[in-house]
Symmetry: C2
């Protein structure tokens, strides 16, 4: 069992902190990254309150990103490009960058129920374009509610749609996802499929607001063995 | 219980015929439309073989479309515009047009796992733009497998994501959908949400080919009462 720490860039945000919480609760060491070192440290302390003895550190994003082979990028789309620029000198070949960014129109003061068009096709493809050579981007975690992740009293029972161009990288991310009880990773094909997956977030935001809930996605009709 | 017939434009295609089969099996009268009258009649006869005493007729599209208040449009994207032009003199105010069209890149000899960009935002919005004044477009049926619909031996257990600008029209379509056992309609907001919903079809086509299955979609975390 690989116990390398999982750096989470933007780990003080709702989705990043939710993922950190679930991973730490599953015994996976996490490194919460933030632009501001004091915010990272505060979030790590907050996580340790929720998960006693949680294997968690808080570090500036650039330091965090060097700490493990699978790096989760969980920042608002508005800040994605800047974050990737800051990580250019940090990320190393063979690292996997899990992009959870959603190009909501809210990034340009539009509605959270609308998707922006990204020149590369999707936020994940923009991440791949900006990542250093040898770094593989995998798209994941767009449909899992941050609120539900962050609340350990709530059971998860949904899928994580995964896309990427390198099967082995997707498999490594899938192995991380299954560490969180109740999440099932589903391979949705090449990285360009992120365009369709990212579109599910604004759709769910609308459903959530209509029904005062935190909806997720489950694909039906799949075989038991997926990877 | 409204027993108006449901015209299905393009009802000889796989999705249209699958919907016709399930609706007829549920006792809903259907009118299978086709460009070619003999194909429509042949499909109606084929449906009666599967569902004895099925309340089904086969008619040319233009005649079929006049036969009921809720008209399902189930044609390849390549033919959507031509079909809507042909229906311009036929569709009447107050009719609801259920658009099930998916703008797959396959329409321009590209991959079925890729989505085309439609100038209006989605195929459903194109349908609304081309429909006569007073006709309301509702987007639905994009994630339900044609093969599964067509095989009455298989149980359905999935959602139909519905989008549209008129709540009452969506509700009427939802009432039709629940006539088919195993399908749950979910209101996904305004018609522009069709852009995200239509994107699920190429995603599922990829998943299906990877896992040799007919996947569907289920939203998790929703309350019991949705409409």
């Amino acid at each position: 069992m690989d116990l390398s720490p999982v750096p989470i860039i933007g780990g003080t945000g709702a989705l990043g902190f939710g993922l950190a919480t679930r991973l730490a609760a599953a015994g996976v060491p996490v490194v919460i990254g933030s632009r501001r070192p004091e915010s990272a440290a505060e979030a790590a302390a907050r996580l340790r309150e929720r998960v006693p003895d949680a294997p968690v550190e808080g570090l500036p994003n650039e330091d965090a990103a060097a700490r493990g082979p699978i790096v989760i990028l969980s920042v608002p789309f508005r800040a994605q490009s800047e974050n990737l620029t800051n990580l250019k000198q940090v990320l190393q070949p063979e690292q996997i960058l899990v992009d959870a960014t959603v190009p909501l129109a809210a990034a340009v003061s539009g509605k959270a129920t609308r998707l922006l068009g990204v020149p590369q096709g999707s936020a994940a493809q923009q991440a791949q374009e900006m990542a250093p050579d040898g770094v593989t981007v995998v798209s994941a975690f767009h449909t899992v509610s941050a609120a539900t992740l962050g609340d350990l009293d709530r059971d998860l029972d949904e899928d994580v749609l995964v896309a990427g161009d390198v099967k082995q990288a997707k498999r490594a991310v899938a192995e991380l996802i299954v560490r969180i009880p109740g999440l099932r990773p589903v391979d949705c094909g090449r990285l360009e499929a992120a365009r369709m997956i990212e579109g599910l977030t604004p759709l769910l935001i609308g459903v959530n607001s209509r029904h005062k809930t935190h909806a997720g996605v489950r694909l039906t009709g799949l075989p038991g063995e997926l990877w």
